[in-house]
């Protein structure tokens, strides 16, 4: 995985069938990049559905969440509508897994993203990352701790 303190590589991926989102657009906000293997994993324990419930708590820390998998934009649209997701799912579809590769979280053997998290600061610098064991939904405690740590660094700087 890319190490803390490095600049997060920029990218531009489809978020809807006709709209791309690039990382640069989030400048001034913190960004949580959640790479995950595939849409349509089982309900209730699903990582994206879980994060969908937690958006409010991420927003409190000026953080936006973005999900990234190799599923295509139409698949993402159907999944997002069915689960009523309120954050973008980006399609790392063509060339397949290119962005995951940039972030060193692409599993070439199975052709999917690994379950991995990056937290970026307002300037797009990586502040925290986590690679989840296979089949394990990482929850959000690590993300929240990283965001709070960033808050306390900021308040120390402003003193």
């Amino acid at each position: 995985m890319l190490s803390n303190g490095t600049k997060a590589p920029d990218f531009s991926l489809f978020a809807t069938p006709d709209q791309r989102i690039s990382l640069e657009e989030f400048r001034g906000k913190r960004v949580i990049l959640a790479f995950y293997p595939a849409d349509w994993s089982p309900v209730c324990g699903d990582q994206m559905a879980l994060y969908n419930e937690m958006l409010k708590y991420f927003h409190k820390h000026n953080a936006e969440l973005v999900g990234i998998s190799v599923d295509g934009k139409w698949c993402h649209m159907a999944f997002s509508q069915e689960r009523k997701l309120h954050f973008p799912l980006l399609a790392d579809f063509e060339p397949k897994g290119a962005v995951a590769n940039l972030y060193q979280v692409y599993d070439e053997k199975i052709g999917e993203c690994r379950r991995a998290l990056y937290v970026l600061d307002e300037e797009g610098i990586i502040r925290w990352s986590y690679l989840s064991p296979v089949g394990m939904n990482p929850g959000a405690d690590g993300i929240m701790d990283a965001l709070e740590e960033m808050n306390s660094v900021q308040s120390n700087l402003s003193v």
Partner: protein
């Protein structure tokens, strides 16, 4: 991963407060898996008796379970009349019917003062209490419902059938007579 914050007087506790085993469940009243876990927890309470205290914290997934919040709020309203666990039980036992009429029916059946219940259901603090539970779940690493913590540590070995009992028996043999 540990429970944050630990169990305190703000929690609803069932059973012996000084028990050797503390079981905390983060759950959602509309989640079918939590519904399946309900009799398993009951059986565990029966088997362990005084050696177990049980705490339920709300983790409603409101975007996929539209009745989860009102059900959770109803248990908090019942708590104001000292009938938290009665309400908790009747809701899980009738999980497939969580519309407002049914919830009010359950409130009547557990013997709540209906006028007070109706007023309390309007109180913001109830929802805030539920949200405080939810937030503590995020910090504790809850990643699904139900998620259990045994003596403060996240329990990851599966809760179906007798698996929690077997785990407790193996880890805390003194607790099982």
């Amino acid at each position: 991963m540990s429970l944050r914050p630990p169990v305190s007087g703000k929690d609803h506790i069932e059973g012996n407060e000084k028990a050797m085993i503390e079981l905390v469940e983060y759950g959602d009243y509309q989640c079918p898996h939590c519904g399946k876990a309900y009799p398993i927890v009951k059986k565990l309470q029966q088997l362990l008796g005084d050696q177990l205290k049980f705490v339920f914290r709300n983790f409603p997934l409101v975007k996929i379970h539209e009745a989860a919040m009102i059900a959770a709020a109803a248990t908090e309203a019942a708590a104001l009349q000292g009938k938290y666990w009665e309400m908790h039980d009747i809701i899980f036992e009738n999980q497939e019917f969580l519309d407002p009429d049914s919830i009010f029916d359950y409130a009547g059946r557990v013997g709540l003062d209906m006028k007070k219940f109706e007023e309390d259901m309007e109180r913001r603090e109830l929802m805030e209490k539920v949200e405080t539970d939810f937030e503590s779940g995020i910090y504790s690493g809850v990643n699904a419902t139900p998620t259990f913590f045994i003596n403060g540590e996240k329990y990851n070995n599966g809760w179906e059938a007798d698996r929690m009992f077997d785990f407790i028996k193996a880890t805390y043999p003194e607790a099982v007579k």
